[in-house]
């Protein structure tokens, strides 16, 4: 049995009905009901195939739990511990030097301005003026790009794919693309690697490994793990055959570039030859040749930084989201980009279809999923279309009515392209409105389809923070979820591929409707 404290309403015909009614795209209620019969039939066929293997293939994946108490976070920054000590007056020179060392030019000017009685008058007035000018300039810059006023840690928390990053015991999670092992970054800045059928869990620690924001294993490689840290990029080479539980920091390559920190997102190319890293303070993203430790910066004006990167599975395109209402899609042959300004907030999360032809996006603060299609022949869509509206809807659950729906925080598409998991933010004030993961069935040919399928909810009080599909689960799809109580659980969806089953595909597309959402369009302009 699966070690999952999770209530799953999945792939059952009853649940199917509930879910369908919950996710009616509201203005099309009538049409949806019309499709209901076809939907259930198709679902039943899939379930029959799925139920068979549930008991035959027990899952032996480790599902560890981490609590905040067992993990000691890294010590507070030095500046905040100052209050614990008695104040001692140094000479002005000493204080200025200290201020310069601790806080740079700002600190120095501040110190001079504050000790006006000890310095010549013109110096104090001059430094006050310069300070005011600097503050005004930085606030002006900050008003253009508000994220630049955040501290490094706040920025990581803001742009991390792990929700509520600063509070969470789990900082990041990554499945290995080819084998049954995953890496977890924890609150105490260590990384643990879990393998199936193995009790050894190597722990990775490094001096530079602080505030880990993202992890990714190198494709077509058994050992390399890229870690996005606060100050640099670490590439760990963890020998899969080694029994060592504490690989030395000599196994890690440190990649850094001035002005390129904190790093909030990394993406390996699917061929494993290149690594792209992004920082919200740097308008350029770095394309690393990791073995040669050389980087090519790809700079574009606008956006104020790059927060999230996602490489399409076929390697032909790369999404780069910025902190402002703008994202770019790079083609990776000549590295030119399409610029996609959005009307509202920045891009929050995105996922590619397995063939790289379709991109699903969610925007900050919005309750819809957008889709973009790409094609080498036709050039793809000129505007993003809304494929799902996930506003609040209540429906009867096992313990009374549940309200489901809200801001789309995270999207994940299984590697076969048949299940889509959507993390919906709940309302912590309301009683029956938790954060849930809604799962959809998807199909991309002949037309893109999105059929509601079920919900995944945690134990009472546990909210999903992060999710990722297992990259090569044999019997369907396996969703791994990181919960707010520090637990990692695996939720399997057993099914046979729809392509193999055949004949059950309704010709009408249910949820891919775009007609009435013209107000929500995104516009593109081609930039060479």
């Amino acid at each position: 049995m699966f070690p999952s404290p999770v209530h799953i309403y999945t792939d059952g015909s009853d649940a199917e009905d509930h879910v369908s009614s919950a996710f009616v795209i509201r203005h099309q209620k009538k049409r949806n009901i019309h499709h209901q019969t076809q939907l259930s039939l198709a679902a039943n066929a899939i379930i029959l195939a799925g139920v068979v293997c549930v008991w035959l293939q027990p899952c032996d994946l480790p599902s560890p739990q981490f609590t905040r108490d067992t993990l000691k976070g890294h010590s507070r920054p030095e500046s905040s511990s100052r209050s614990a000590f008695l104040d001692q007056r140094d000479t002005l020179w000493m204080r200025s030097a200290g201020a310069w060392r601790d806080a740079g030019l700002y600190g120095l000017l501040d110190e001079i301005t504050n000790s006006a009685e000890e310095v010549p008058r013109f110096l104090a007035v001059g430094s006050a003026c310069v300070l005011a000018l600097l503050r005004w300039a930085s606030s002006f810059h900050g008003s253009l790009f508000p994220h630049l006023t955040l501290s490094s840690d706040e920025m990581v928390a803001e742009f991390s794919q792990m929700l509520d990053w600063s509070d969470s015991a789990l900082r990041s999670f990554a499945w290995h693309p080819h084998t049954d092992k995953f890496a977890v970054a924890l609150l105490d800045d260590s990384i643990r690697i879990y393998k199936s059928n193995s009790s050894a869990t190597p722990t990775l620690k490094h001096r530079c490994q602080r505030s880990v924001c993202a992890l990714q294993w190198k494709p077509l490689c058994g050992s390399a793990l890229a870690v996005a840290c606060q100050s640099c990029l670490l590439i760990w080479h963890v020998d899969p055959t080694s029994l060592s539980t504490r690989p030395s920091s000599g196994c890690a390559q440190v990649l850094s570039h001035p002005g390129h920190s904190p790093i909030t997102s990394i993406a390996w190319s699917p061929t494993g030859s290149l690594l792209v890293s992004a920082s919200p303070v740097d308008t350029g993203m770095m394309v690393w040749d990791v073995a040669a430790e050389s980087a090519v910066p790809l700079q574009r004006v606008g956006g104020g930084g790059v927060t999230y990167l996602s490489w399409s599975p076929d390697g032909s395109r790369l999404l780069a989201a910025t902190p402002s209402a703008l994202f770019r899609v790079w083609e990776t042959r000549m590295w030119t980009c399409e610029r996609w300004p959005c009307l509202k907030g920045s891009c929050q999360s995105a996922c590619w279809s397995p063939d790289g032809g379709c991109l699903l996006l969610s925007m900050q603060g919005e309750r819809v999923i957008y889709a973009l299609t790409f094609s080498d022949l036709t050039g793809g869509s000129k505007a993003a279309s809304v494929v799902a509206d996930l506003s609040e809807t209540s429906f009867p659950g096992p313990d009374g009515d549940l309200t489901v729906g809200g801001e789309v925080c995270s999207l994940s598409w299984d590697p076969r392209g048949e299940r889509l998991a959507v993390l919906l933010k709940g309302d912590s004030q309301a009683v029956n409105h938790p954060s849930v993961i809604a799962v959809f069935k998807t199909r991309s040919s002949p037309v893109f389809e999105l059929l509601p399928c079920g919900f995944v909810m945690g134990e009472a009080g546990a909210e999903p923070r992060f999710m990722q599909f297992h990259p090569h689960f044999q019997h369907g799809a396996l969703l791994t979820v990181c919960w707010s109580d520090g637990r990692i659980s695996h939720v399997p969806f057993y099914f046979s591929s729809a392509g193999l089953l055949g004949g059950d595909s309704p010709q009408q597309a249910l949820a891919s409707n775009t007609a009435d959402h013209s107000s929500n369009k995104l516009y593109t302009e081609q930039i060479s």
């Binding site: 080819h178 077509l220 490689c221 494993g272 290149l274 394309v287 073995a291 040669a292 430790e293 090519v296």
Partner: protein, 602 residues
């Protein structure tokens, strides 16, 4: 001297033309940089309007047009030097003596001389542009006369001389660092970009490099002038019969040198000088590394020489081989239609000529690398028993085939096949390395004395004193030299692995299947050789990363890139074929190794 008359069509049609267009662009950009230089050199904070009007009048004056023509000549010569001296395989001196030999090589001396002259020319233009006290070498001054009769004589303008000498110094240090940092080595970027975005992306780096280099050069030159400035000053004044104005503060004193405006002008002019040269180098690199697409097959027999299979087999033109392999790597990843051409059969006869030629060439490249590695390991194991083929001492005075300054013409003169040259040059490197300490162990006293003489640090990170330190060999240099041309192997690996992986679904006639056992065993053998090589001392130590240099140091990490590319290539094939690999006919040990890859345990 210039060997532009190449009989290879590729050099005539592609390389020379890209060099010409890069020079044209550098000349076109010259007025812009000159205008920026004028604005900066005459900058005055408190008289902005006067500053702007002065600059505009200066920019339209005839003297500045003449300066511009001179500068164009300098850029032209720089561009021609780039075309003549560029190299795709860096020369890596394996001992400090070899490095010294390269620096003192006659060809390098000529190069330095030309750069000194060009530096002086640029600095002359700069001093004319800055004007004021810098403009001429002679200035009227009052000689020592009697009573009321004061004759007006021409005195030496030390400021002008100072800038000219600084130009010569910067020219020499550019030429010197060009050897040390392999300035003429052209490396290929890991990603493809259009020329303009790439130029835009590199421009800040070039500006930063030229500013930093100029600051270092200014510091070094000021120190040099402080101690030895007296000599050129008296020499110039005596040969040109110019008097030295004793009423002015001499510049070879601390108070004379520590003047803000002098140092500012020195730095600004130096930045301008370096920027002009670096920009030419950058444009040349961008133009010459632009990918070239060869046709896979042609319907016309006269074009057959220019097709990929023929070009790959070409051994005389190293440049063309590089571009052909790059094109192979690109087509294997990005172009379905060209891949299908590779897998196609010849029309009458039905032979897979394209695939056979391509795979044969790639495999021979890889097995050649394997042999090279094995030979190196044997040499290290036997520790220099074989006689030296080329003595490290005589090297400076014989044509150095591996130096960046060896033109293809020289290589032909020496009668050496080019693709063999890195192989030829590197196989004896371990002997030099090993023999080095033995040769020089007796003369430690002498090196100590030399050390005293050469303690002057010419540049940060590099000094002649280091060159004569007790240990003569350079660590890890032999390993770097062994992999100096490994970019071709990386492309061959990428091209082969992607083609083989693509053949799984795209190869209709099964042409790849027949060569699959060969490819797999070749890769595994190479992997074993590479693994053994990384167990040697110094082979797996990472070089220090360069801070900000115009010289390309990618060659230092090529061996790591090769190892990563090799493993990725094997993984690419094993993940694509999976269990089908068990049906491939290979030896048991190789199958065991591949099984490790199938289980992701490498």
């Amino acid at each position: 001297m210039f060997s532009l008359k190449q009989n290879c069509w590729f050099i005539r049609k592609v390389v020379v033309w890209s060099a010409v267009s890069s020079i044209a662009w550098s000349v076109l950009l010259l007025p812009v940089t000159a205008a920026v230089f004028v604005l900066l050199s005459r900058f005055s904070l408190f008289h902005p309007i006067q500053w702007i009007s002065e600059c505009t009048s200066l920019l339209t004056a005839s003297s500045s047009i003449f300066s511009l023509v001179v500068l164009c000549g300098v850029v032209l010569i720089t561009g021609l030097f780039n075309l003549e001296f560029y190299t795709l395989v860096p020369s890596i001196p394996c001992s400090r003596m070899a490095l010294l030999g390269t620096v003192l090589h006659p060809r390098q001396c000529v190069h330095s001389l030309v750069y000194c002259t060009m530096g002086m020319l640029v600095m002359w233009c700069a001093s004319v542009t800055i004007g004021g006290r810098y403009s001429t070498l002679g200035i009227p001054c009052r000689g020592s006369g009697f009573n009321n009769c004061i004759p007006v004589v021409t005195c030496l303008n030390e400021y002008h001389l100072f800038l000219l000498l600084a130009g010569a110094f910067m020219g020499y240090s550019h030429s010197f660092l060009g050897v040390v940092q392999n300035m003429y080595y052209v490396s290929f970027q890991p990603i493809q970009q259009y020329k303009y975005p790439r130029f835009k992306g590199c421009l800040p780096m070039v500006v930063k490099c030229s500013v930093i280099q100029s600051l270092y050069s200014a510091r070094n030159f000021a120190a040099l002038y402080l101690f030895f400035g007296y000599a050129p000053k008296t020499w110039i004044s005596s040969t040109l019969h110019l008097q030295i104005d004793s009423s002015l503060q001499p510049l070879d004193s601390l108070t004379g040198l520590l003047e803000f405006s002098l140092l500012y002008h020195l730095t600004i002019s130096g930045t301008f000088l370096y920027f002009t040269w670096y920009l030419t180098v950058l444009l040349f690199r961008i133009y010459v590394t632009e990918a070239y697409s060869f046709p896979v097959q042609s319907t016309f027999t006269e074009d057959a020489e220019q097709c990929l299979p023929k070009v790959l087999a070409e051994t005389n033109t190293l440049v063309m081989k590089f571009f052909a392999l790059q094109d192979l790597a690109l087509l294997s990843q990005h172009s379905l239609s060209r891949r299908l051409e590779v897998f196609s059969l010849s029309q009458p006869g039905g032979h897979p000529h394209n695939w056979n030629a391509i795979s044969r060439e790639c495999l021979s490249l890889l097995s050649e690398l394997t042999q090279r590695l094995v030979a190196h390991q044997d040499a290290v194991a036997s520790n220099g028993i074989k006689p030296l083929q080329r003595d490290a001492l005589t090297a400076p005075f014989t044509p150095d085939v591996d130096s960046p300054f060896s033109s293809p013409a020289i290589r032909r003169l020496v009668g050496q096949q080019e693709p063999l040259s890195p192989w030829f040059g590197t196989v004896q490197s371990p002997h030099i390395m090993r023999r080095g300490p033995k040769l020089w162990s007796a003369s430690t006293g002498e090196t100590a004395r030399l050390k005293l003489t050469f303690t002057l640090s010419l540049n940060h990170g590099f000094s002649l004193s280091k060159m004569f330190s007790s240990n003569v060999q350079l660590p890890e240099a032999s390993s770097q030299a062994l992999f100096a041309d490994s970019q071709v192997h990386i492309w061959a690996l990428q091209g082969l692995s992607h083609l083989v992986a693509a053949s799984f679904s795209e190869d209709q006639f099964g042409v790849v299947q027949t060569t699959l056992p060969n490819i797999l065993s070749c890769l595994v053998v190479l992997l074993e050789a590479v693994d053994r090589h990384f167990k040697l001392p110094h082979a797996s130590s990472k070089p220090v990363r360069a801070v900000c240099r115009m010289g390309d140091s990618t060659y230092k990490t090529l061996r790591f890139a090769l190892r990563a590319a090799l493993k990725t290539a094997i993984y690419k094939i094993t993940t694509t074929f999976g269990e089908h690999l068990n049906a491939v006919n290979i030896s048991t040990e190789h199958r065991k190794r591949l099984q490790q890859f199938l289980e992701f345990k490498e």
